[in-house]
């Protein structure tokens, strides 16, 4: 079996909060394989967002090692982390986070423009394809404010996938959607996971959403309770 695309080993993340230090992650070790469709589950405040931030290279651990696609992130410069995010990662946010002044197609095109090396014709083609895949071709000229929540999240999915990233991070992608729409979004993600071979890592509270995952990692108080393969970090530490 090939090396895991994401490796967390003994990751500790501490936040200074006034005079005290909040330990958001307390020795998390986790391997994620390429092509997986994995959910991070746990109660509020358990550290789901923090884990996704570590894997998504928007934050680095206080101690321990996070390796994304072969690169240990703790020692990377901001520039290198930015490049890693641009080329290897995609993001889907709980509240969609589209650029309000850009149209659907322009939002999807944005990361391709940042990559810089793709010609206008190729960009146009890829944007059109991606918008088509999420079923928004008729809306592609509209602004995000003219779309429903579910439609906006589809735009976000298209934006995350248009660069053909290795991993897509999604922090509670369905939390701001009604349950039927949420189900549709997860099904779309699952479909893209199958067809594009993209690794998806998402967090959720919702058991119905969780049910779509190939693997469920349960965390609590910054520790892995169940890594979906019958291991828990506490057990490992005790062993």
């Amino acid at each position: 079996m090939s090396a895991p695309i994401v490796q967390l080993s003994n990751v500790v993340k501490e936040y200074p909060l006034g005079h005290v230090t909040v330990t958001a992650l307390d020795g998390v070790s986790l391997d994620i394989d390429a092509g997986d469709f994995i959910t991070i589950a746990g109660p509020s405040g358990s550290g789901k967002t923090t884990i996704l931030n570590m894997i998504g290279c928007v934050d680095v651990p206080t101690r321990g090692e996070v390796v994304v696609d072969g690169q240990p992130t703790r020692t990377l410069s901001d520039r290198a982390l930015t490049s890693l995010r641009l080329h290897k990662l995609g993001f889907i946010f709980q509240s969609f986070n589209l650029i309000p002044v850009l149209s659907v197609a322009q939002n999807v095109e944005f990361p391709l423009l940042l990559q810089g090396h793709i010609g206008a014709a190729e960009r146009k083609k890829r944007v059109a394809e991606m918008v088509e895949k999420v079923g928004l071709t008729p809306q592609s000229g509209q602004r995000p404010s003219e779309l429903s929540g579910g439609q906006r999240q589809r735009v976000a999915i298209a934006r995350a996938l248009v660069t053909r990233p290795r991993i897509v991070m999604a922090d509670e992608p369905t939390a701001n959607l009604d349950s039927v729409t949420g189900q549709n979004i997860i099904e779309l993600m699952r479909h893209l996971n199958e067809t594009e071979q993209t690794t998806f890592i998402f967090s959720t509270h919702d058991p119905k959403v969780m049910a779509h995952a190939k693997r469920i990692v349960r965390i609590k108080d910054g520790k892995v309770e169940d890594d979906g393969r019958g291991n828990a970090s506490n057990n490992q530490a005790a062993a």
Partner: protein, 447 residues
């Protein structure tokens, strides 16, 4: 795409954009207006000065027959004139004017004045620029018509007064006056003259100027015809603004021909008597000046106006810079989540910086272009509507009875570039703050 984002964000925040544009545009407009006023004054001044008392470059000097006296004359003008006409860089033409100082006496009063003896045949701008006054401008119950004719100055015994002098002397065109002067030997000579024309005042300089026929003035002073007051050198349009340069090269040329040159003293000739009297030499020395030197005593008006402009604009600029900074800071705060999002997606720090700076620069460019266009139009409107100046003191200083404003393209362009740059500079700090935001902080912010 940066451009699209910037433009659309500006359009999105309409109120804010409008307010800032108004402020930036207003200051730019003010700057363009004040500059055009200063430029207009400068142009009026050069025109008045070069008509009344100076060429672009003046070749004059003092002749001392003994160390204790000094005549403001060139004792042997023709060879000097020949050199100037041959060797002056950028020369348009040379004219020769005799100079004196004396008293004009009428039945009811007298005035002290500089006397300028002109050879009308070689004068080029005098008859065009000096405007004749209507009789009711210098005489109560005067006729509403121009009397007299400046061209009569070609005849001996004719003189031209300015309105303020005519009013003091209570004379009109055709009246006889007595001109009284004192020669270098202390002898008083007088002659009788006929007022052939009365001109509109050109600022307060004209109050000290009486023009008369050159040979009449020469014979009044009992001077040889080869001596004169000043050779005034006029330059071609391309050489305007390079008077100093031309003056310096003339200095070298004349020195090499054996003339003795006085050190450059940037003042009109009548301020130099005491100095020359105190000096211990005899013979002829040549004094070179530019038109600016000849009106140096008026320059403070321009300096004052420019200082006020600078101070006013500096204060307003500061206020606006703070305003811009604040606005961009607000916009950064509002768009924190957007910044986080684009950073997460892979926009670099410098990309964020570019995004915010571009927005401000576009706003600046738009506002300054509009503001300066408006300023230039207003200046043009004021200038072409020939607004009359009613206050006498102001009239005196601007040397004109209508307000003249002149917009130079380079002033407009400088204003646009400067204020766009200032807008960008004011946005720099908040933009840098935006770019240094951690993507995770930016993302987790509320709203």
């Amino acid at each position: 795409m940066y451009f699209t984002i910037a433009v659309r964000n500006l359009l999105q925040a309409k109120r804010r954009t409008l307010l800032l544009s108004l402020a930036i545009g207003a200051v730019t407009m003010l700057l363009v207006l004040l500059q055009s006023l200063s430029q207009g004054l400068n142009e009026t001044m050069i025109q008045a000065a070069t008509t009344l008392s100076a060429g672009h470059v003046n070749v004059a000097g003092f002749f001392k027959s003994k160390p204790s006296d000094a005549s403001p004359i060139l004792s042997d003008a023709p060879p000097l004139r020949a050199i100037l006409e041959k060797e002056t860089p950028g020369l348009d033409y040379v004219i020769d004017r005799a100079r004196g100082w004396g008293k004009i006496i009428s039945d009811s009063g007298s005035v002290q004045s500089g006397l300028t003896g002109v050879n009308l045949a070689e004068e080029r701008t005098l008859t065009k620029i000096v405007q004749m006054a209507r009789e009711n401008e210098y005489r109560d119950n005067g006729r509403d018509q121009v009397l007299g004719d400046i061209n009569k100055l070609a005849e001996p015994g004719q003189l031209m007064l300015f309105a303020a002098q005519a009013r003091k002397l209570n004379v009109t065109v055709g009246d006889q006056v007595t001109i009284s002067i004192e020669t270098i030997d202390g002898q008083t000579n007088t002659m009788s003259g006929t007022v052939c024309a009365i001109a509109r005042d050109i600022g307060f300089m004209s109050g000290w100027s009486v023009f008369l026929n050159r040979s009449s003035l020469k014979s009044l002073y009992e001077q040889a015809d080869t001596s004169t007051g000043a050779l005034m050198v006029y330059l071609k349009p391309g050489y305007r603004g390079r008077e100093k340069e031309v003056m310096d090269s003339l200095r070298g040329i004349l020195e090499s021909k054996g003339y003795t040159m006085m050190d450059h003293d940037p003042n009109p000739f009548w301020m130099k008597f005491d100095k020359v009297l105190a000096e211990d030499w005899i013979g002829q020395q040549i004094d070179l000046t530019t038109w600016e030197d000849e009106v140096s005593f008026l320059k403070w008006v321009l300096v004052a106006l420019d200082s006020i402009t600078f101070f006013l604009i500096a204060v307003l600029t500061f206020v606006i810079a703070v305003g811009i900074m604040n606005t961009v800071l607000m916009s950064v705060r509002e768009r924190t989540r957007e910044i986080g999002t684009v950073r997460a997606i892979g926009l670099s720090q410098s990309g964020v910086l570019t995004m915010f700076l571009l927005e401000s620069l576009l706003l600046g460019l738009f506002a300054t272009a509009l503001g300066s266009a408006l300023g230039a139009s207003i200046a043009w409107l004021i200038d072409s509507s020939k607004v009359a100046i009613t206050d006498d003191a102001i009239k005196t200083f601007v040397m004109s009875d209508t307000l003249h404003l002149s917009v130079l393209p380079q002033h407009v362009i400088t204003a646009i570039i400067a204020f766009t740059f200032i807008t960008g500079l004011s946005a720099l700090w908040p933009a840098l703050r935006a770019s240094r935001m951690q993507p995770v902080t930016a993302m987790s912010s509320a709203t």
